[in-house]
Amino acid sequence: MILEALRPNVLTSLRAAALALAAVVVISPLTVAAGVVAAAVAAFAGACLADAYQRRTAAGPLRTRGAAIAAGSIGLGGAVLAGWLANQPSLTSFLGVAGAVALIEALRSASVIGAFAFLLRTAAARGQLAAVAEVGIVAAAVSISFAAHRGGQVHRPFALSDWAWSHGIDPALVFLVLGVAATGLLAALLVSETRRYRLPIHALAIVALGLLVVTLVRVSGLPLNTPGSGLGLTGEAAAQPQEGRASEGKDGKGQRRDNLQLDDLPFRDDYESDGDQAPVAVVVLHDDHSPPAGVYYFRQTAFSHYNGFRLVESASDYDRDVLRIFPSQPWDVPDAPPLSGSRAPLPTSFGLLVDHVKPFALDSPARVEPRSVVEDFRFQRTYHVISHVQTLPYVQMLGGRAGEPHWSAEAWAHYTSHPADPRYRKLARSLVETLSPEYQEDPLARAMAVKSYLDEQGIYSLKSQHASAEDPAASFLFGDLTGYCVHFAHAATYLYRALGLPARVAAGYAVPEADRAGGSALLVRGGNAHAWPEIHLEGVGWVVVDLAPETALDGGLAAADPELQRLLGEMLREQLREVPFEEPGARWTPADLGARVRQLLLGLLALGFALKWWRRLVPWVAPAAARPRLFYRAALDRLSELGERRRFGETREAFALRQTSRAPSFPQLTEVHLRAAFGGGAGVAPENLLDVARGLRQELSVTPLWRRLLGGLDPTAWMRSR
């Protein structure tokens, strides 16, 4: 009894809440917080008022029209009043600017939204079409907010997404919750709906809303600037045409290089450093390790093939210790440097915040295990690497031999070819001669001689003027010696090679050990992108012999925010803990889940229609004994599509009686069915059963077309026929 009495109020509140929610979502990009709150309250109040008015006064069309006109003029008047207030300087002086804006916005949105809600509810209570519009508006308001988030672009509505960001919550989550709330409200309305013709409409609206949510929402990752790394390490950077290349194309060299299909490091006159601070990855070291050079070198790629113009990435025969793709299975790197006195294994984990074309790993990777190959909530990718890191100080590597004994002549030639320019050899020789005689044949000592020359003479600057030269490295080395890491790395590599040392240019990220600040997490930022020269020593592998110019025109990268570094490291640990060792691809991401849900919904839809048509058509081909029941069931389905269903506890005869005016043949069919069901075996289908069934179909075809269409589109009607 109490429930019955409460029912209208509960229904009204639900409707009003749905409208208020829709109002919040629609208005929040347009106004300030006060306006949003006022709009929500006004929408709720307007809907409640409209319902109360409809219920209390058995309002005729005339009175309804009067109320509608009143509401419309209140809305208009409020907006005009707000506009007038906005031009009153006295208000501003009295309330302050913020207060005045809040008041005006609240007044404007409350009057407009309130009047709109009142009109909408009034219309919906009186007309079927307006009721459809009501549900449609609520659904559309919520789905529009989702549509703004397509592809993870979180920027609307500001009030909600900013609030979420400032509280460390993913805005997509907030919108998901809102969507769920709206869907729940609509569902509650649907359940408590008493007018049957609205049921299919509401059901369709909910299904549409659910589909939209699933289709449009992508849970986004962290908002990061695209790092402007000029070295082409990240996916985005590689995909964009670069300035340096364009300028090279003008003097005719770009064309030939394009045919090679192999990437090289571009020389640029003006190195972009916009994305220096943007985090690109976080690395967790699972063991303590101090690199001999004081810098962690994360190699992504290497350039060792001299094609007559510059160094490019070599074909697959060489540099096999470089990771070329993200492996989908745990992968042992071929040609990884052996574990000897000079190297020790170090497990590391990587969480990429920005998409990269290739994985990078601490020098030098031996085994790579993918953790997740697809995008997840925070990290684009996570993987685990066991690196054989160099532990031997450089001094103790003196006396080694260059290259490997098993290298073929081609390999030697590959790693030592350099520009034919005689100045390289000349300069290199002169540098070696400064060494004391016992070190003149030592490969590492020779490299160090070159390094110290470049360190002393070179000037580090992000602005230089070598990119358009025939050989930018020569232009740099024999010119003003002003450039950045790419220039230094190339010049050093050519000089090493001129001395017969196998050398190459490696690119990736270099992070100073000091950045670790004692923790185990290391934040890699766009500004850490770096290129450096390496030489190959027997039994040790590729050894970084990097340059450190003493004169620098541009400052180095400031240390990373230790808090952010620690936080991201914790997140990576957390993530890896959650899924310690799983097969790649087994993890379901939201996008994945969305696809599954979509498939499931489509499957259910198809199944619903299939069963619906099966139930409708099977009586025509069924054996005679089953026909009465099947024809009757098909008739029930048809009536259910039109919203006519047997009530609980109602007998079949009473239901048939209720349908007599709509379908005069139905009682007859009911009797045939009941005779078959309760009359024992005597219930043989009479000859005219088919005629009765046809007659029924004829009778039901008088129903309005839109009603039949709606019923025909409803894949669930047969489930509700009783």
């Binding site: 069931r633 609980f648 007998t651 009941l674 069901a677 009359g679 009479p686 009783r722």
Partner: protein, 336 residues
């Protein structure tokens, strides 16, 4: 398509229906605006049950009972009246109902003088006005269809049918029937006041209805009624789903919190012939859910003893509680 088209001619069921229709037509001629009650009484007659009518004085109970008695011809030989009436009063004695043994000095033996129960149709007016002793005597006769006096058993007429009445309002100085006694009645029917048109019709046609024996509607023989009873019992199919629904309904009523005591198994057994009779009356040779929905509340209501007085009208309670089993029955019909 009706039953008469699909059932072969000469069917005993059709004859039974014909008998019922004739009785009905005769009673309808006398009683106006009580079609539903007439149907219930007819069903009880065929189902070998008895009816308790609750109504105000002057609402046509006697007319109805007399009309029914007039519609059935008494057997030629027995010398029984087809219709008797007992007006119950507090000072009535059991022998006033059942009859008594009178000493015949000529023969020097006791002679049995049959009481008013030795008839076909008995109207027991205001049954709650008499003492429980007299009530018990009548109710025993109703249950056993016989009267035992001085160790001699006197069987009653095979068609013995009681229409008892009681006034639901004027309860001062009455002996209300206990539930156990009420259980002997198949139906307890509360008669609502007839509608305006029917009441006008009663006034307009009072003269014609006084001619008791309309020539075009000959009364039905007792044998015919008995034959119809057997035919219906033998030929109206009762599906097991119907039995289940009956049992489920009784269980649902017993399980309800508001009910202290509910329908007995006997009442369920008694209700089956009533269901069959209703099916036959509606031209069906099987019992359907409609029969259950229509009859069961009448069968069950007066057997329900509510926990608290006035908590719910038993008739409405029965209707409410049978909705679940009825729904199951309806859904079950689609499944096989």
């Amino acid at each position: 398509m009706t039953i008469s088209e699909t059932t072969p001619a000469g069917d005993p069921l059709i004859e039974a229906r014909d008998v019922l229709a004739r009785i009905r037509a005769r009673v309808l001629h006398q009683v106006i605006g009580r079609d539903d009650v007439i149907d219930l009484v007819l069903i009880a007659l065929v189902a070998d049950g008895h009816v308790l009518l609750e109504d105000f004085p002057g609402s046509g109970k006697t007319t109805l009972a007399k009309a029914l008695g007039g519609a059935i011809r008494a057997p030629e030989d027995g010398g029984l009246a087809s219709f008797r009436r007992i007006q119950f009063t507090p000072d009535l004695l059991p022998s006033d109902v059942t009859g008594l043994s009178v000493f015949d000095p000529e023969r020097g033996a006791f002679d049995f003088r049959p009481g008013p129960v030795f008839t076909q149709i008995l109207l027991a007016d205001e049954i709650n006005r008499t003492s429980p002793k007299v009530q018990a005597a009548l109710l025993e006769a109703m249950g056993e269809k016989q009267v035992t006096l001085d160790n001699v058993t006197h069987p009653l007429d095979r068609l013995f049918f009681v229409i008892a009445t009681q006034n639901p309002r004027d309860l001062a100085g009455t002996y209300p029937l206990p539930v156990a006694q009420l259980d002997r009645f198949l139906f307890k029917v509360r008669m609502e006041p007839i509608d305006r048109e029917a009441e006008l019709e009663v006034l307009r046609t009072r003269r014609e209805r006084r001619d008791e024996d309309p020539a075009e509607l000959p009364p039905v023989g007792q044998e015919e009624v008995l034959r119809a009873r057997d035919a219906i019992d033998a030929n109206v199919m009762v599906d097991d789903a119907i039995h289940e629904c009956l049992v489920d309904t009784a269980a649902a009523i017993r399980a309800d919190d508001r009910v202290a005591q509910a329908a007995s198994t006997r009442s369920l057994v008694l209700s089956v012939p009533a269901l069959q009779a209703r099916a036959a009356l509606h031209g069906r040779d099987f019992v359907s859910s409609e029969d259950l929905a229509d009859l069961l509340p009448w069968v069950l209501a007066h057997r329900i003893e509510a926990v608290a007085l006035g908590s719910a009208e038993p008739y409405d309670l029965a209707r409410e509680l049978m909705a679940g089993p009825l729904d199951r029955l309806a859904r079950r019909s689609l499944r096989r």
